[in-house]
Symmetry: C2
Subunit: 366 residues, 2 copies
């Protein structure tokens, strides 16, 4: 169980492993719920400071910022600079989401439990919404992609999670995978649990062409899913997902269908025509209003995993009730034990997934 | 799987069991997501019209309305009248939540699958957010309680769910129970699943003195929970819950602790001191910002069930990640097969729960 230290005033006294000592306002909340964090470079004894090289903005956050400024990269960059200056963290106040970072360990407090060493290149596996951050420069970023080259520093707490970047993958590729590593982990867990009943479940991934979606498909495949249905909004994405699947021993999806996930009736019809309804539906899109489609595309007794940060709790809860759908609905937890290694392994095993990631990074697509 | 009929223009053509034909705007969404419904009294062939006698507003919705108008009952009543007139349903645009209703079956379409007969007294078990509603009078309501005596009519679709009110319970008591019947059903399911592993789980219910909270405790007790911890915000509620428990053969909660659920550190400390952390935490409060406390009060590998309509999806998803909590987090589905009978049976078996309900109804407490 957590320790519960009092608020303290200086690094000379013990910090809270949850980072409570960095919360400036409001009082008494966790860093993720805080409006403003103290991002000063001096370390409490159990903290680690990282020299930041790159942020990976959450897809929903980047899309919101880009939409708000009509795709004007300079304006997006200025807005990110302002958010981090105001809040001491990259926490989009509209979407409530953040992203993650990579950097090099600059200093390790004497009581840090994270096992890191100065000079290691690491990715933080906790959200930017709870990570104290100072940006010294954004000059190398054009404001047009969610991968943000930068200079600055960030603080990891005693209970934060960080992964040392693997030697065998480029840093930006590893970062993109680690950003969504909760999705394949939870998908695998749910598929495995179903498969234990003796029936290979039908799995539908909505937003299957994206980062979390393609890894969720790969994880479902590894975990013993039966029919796999991918839903994408554009023909271009459909072609890319099919081509990627052809690079693997088995396709990522048995069927890739085009549908607007915000149109519940059309989505359910498309999934049904592709062999659904699904026993397990994984929502990996970064736009709002996809809850009802996911519910209608899932068979009674099935499970919907919501990974989109654009998910509305009320729309999901009331939507299922409204159509008398007896479903298990899971909030996609960004953390699961072993999630980083699992996601990197799925990418290593799947040339198809890797090709999709590579294309997105090359194009600067969110 | 659902039928997917086209939008249609008059009751002379078949309706959609989902009620799509009643959606006025925006196009193509389900009634729950609609801004405005057609609540006209003429029936499509698979519909049922109910003469409405009483609404039970969702607790989060009533609290928001009451707070917005500083407890001015006349202003709250006028606002409810306006919402229903504007939207064709009682769907609070701020909280996104509704409630439920009771009334008498006035007309049954020839193709209705619900099995209802004219004259039966029924409760709708789908949210008011997706139920076409016209209010003719609110004159008997003082705007100061979530139970709203009224006159008007509502429409049930082919796939709506309604329960015939039991003969052995007063209508307003049955309505209050049926309003929250998803909570004991899901709690029982999760506790039963844990108990099957051979260990009786520790269950913590946050907001244990309320309607959904007390029924969730009773359901946990019936399903084989071990230690049961109730969290309430006020000494008055604590005393009431302990006194109620003394009416039953076994107490509703082994420990009832006082804590502000919005203070995560204080909540976790209180639950731990009472024998936690919990294996299963059920969130039944109607105020925002309780996600982090629930996460910290739950042991790794445990489950949090969010029943509060004030839950933030992002706060839950990112909060668990931020503190590396490997938890299953469930969106409280308002529907589960058999949920109405199960909830009524828990009340019948528990004089304690019944006394809590009776007191709330007498006081007009939400």
């Amino acid at each position: 169980m957590i320790e519960i230290p009092p608020h303290i005033a200086s690094p000379s006294t013990p910090g809270s492993p949850l980072g409570l000592h960095r919360v400036l306002s409001p009082d008494g909340v966790l860093p993720q719920a805080a409006w403003q964090l103290d991002a000063g470079p001096a370390l409490w004894p159990d903290e680690v400071r990282v020299d930041v090289e790159r942020l990976n903005l959450d897809a929903a956050s980047f899309r919101q910022l880009s939409d708000q400024h009509d795709g004007d990269g300079d304006a997006v960059r200025e807005r990110v600079r302002q958010i981090v200056r105001d809040r001491g963290k990259m926490h989009n106040p509209v979407t409530g989401s953040g992203g993650m970072l990579i950097g090099t360990v600059a200093e390790v407090g004497p009581n840090s439990p994270l096992g890191l060493r100065v000079g290691q290149q690491v990715a933080s596996l906790v959200s930017l919404t709870c990570t104290p951050l100072v940006l010294d420069s954004l000059d190398d970023w054009d404001g047009r992609s969610e991968q943000v080259p930068c200079r600055g520093h960030a603080i990891l707490f005693g209970r934060s999670i960080a992964a040392v970047l693997p030697d065998d993958l480029p840093a930006h590729l590893a970062l993109a995978v680690l950003d969504v590593c909760g999705a394949p982990a939870l998908t695998r867990r749910v598929v495995t649990s179903y498969a234990r009943t003796g029936t290979a479940p039908t799995v539908c991934v909505i937003g299957a062409g994206g980062k979390s979606g393609s890894l969720a498909l790969a994880a479902a495949r590894s975990a013993g899913a039966g029919r796999r249905i991918g839903v994408v909004p554009l023909e271009r994405e459909r072609a890319a997902l099919i081509a990627a699947g052809a690079l693997d021993d088995a396709p990522l999806a048995d069927e890739v269908v085009l549908a607007d996930a915000r149109d519940p009736v059309a989505l359910a019809a498309a999934v049904t025509a592709a062999g659904g309804p699904a026993d397990i539906t994984v929502v990996c899109v970064d736009v709002p209003d996809c809850e009802h489609g996911a519910i209608l595309a899932t068979s009674d007794g099935g499970t919907v995993i919501f990974f989109s940060m654009a998910t509305s709790f009320a729309a999901a809860a009331l939507g299922a009730e409204a159509v008398a759908a007896d479903l298990t609905m899971l909030i996609g937890n960004g953390y699961a034990a072993g999630h980083a290694e699992l996601a990197l392994d799925e990418l290593r095993r799947s040339p198809g997934v890797r090709s999709l990631y590579q294309a997105r990074i090359t194009e600067g697509t969110p």
